[in-house]
Symmetry: none
Subunit: 120 residues, 2 copies
């Protein structure tokens, strides 16, 4: 058995489900895009199954997420790479944007976050 679901995989399934719902996709639609069965995706989302590396990769692609983010959520990758992405900071540091453009991007980003929070 070795490593199993004892502990920190709490949330991978829910994270996937949340991402799926943010994209307004049904279980079947996402499963289809990822090339897996809807039954299996349903089980993954509820934590009943432990997807293999390749399925996880397919899910990352289907959700248009970086694979690092998903793997970090699964507790497999160190979050040092996956979590650091502060969009606002990256925008503010970008030397190729004008102040006005930075402001627009930040506002757009924050309004997205706000909308998602409200739709929770």
């Amino acid at each position: 058995m070795s490593a199993k679901r004892s502990g920190p995989d709490l949330g991978l399934g829910e994270f996937i489900r949340r991402q799926r719902e943010l994209g307004h996709l049904s279980v079947r639609q996402l499963a289809d895009v990822c090339g897996i069965s809807n039954a299996y995706l349903s089980q993954i989302e509820r934590g009943l199954r432990n997807p293999s590396s390749f399925v996880l990769k397919a899910l990352a692609d289907g959700l248009e997420l970086s694979a690092e983010t998903l793997y970090a959520q699964a507790g497999i990758l160190d979050p040092s790479n996956g979590e650091a992405g502060d969009v606002v900071e990256a925008v503010r540091r970008d030397p190729y944007l004008s102040a006005r453009q930075r402001e627009m991007l930040v506002e757009m980003y924050e309004s997205f976050r706000k909308v998602n929070d409200a739709a929770e």
Copy 2:
């Protein structure tokens, strides 16, 4: 321009074996450290088995490699992974946005960059 690639198309199993031998470990020793059976490790190294995410993670730890390196070798993670502070990367890694929202932000960012380039 193509940057230099180290060990282009080395299979995952062969890569693991090479790393293990570089560390002067036997199959049993590495398997023990990783918490898997020696038989299974042997099969992984010869490409007869396809290890799960957790086993891959354990192998990375046992070999004292970054998990990213091993996952890149497995063809699961994109090897281009180092550039920090990039807006696009930050957006792609943000787990609170939907795929559609990420796409919109990236397109907005890139159109800004394009406009700025043209006006240079």
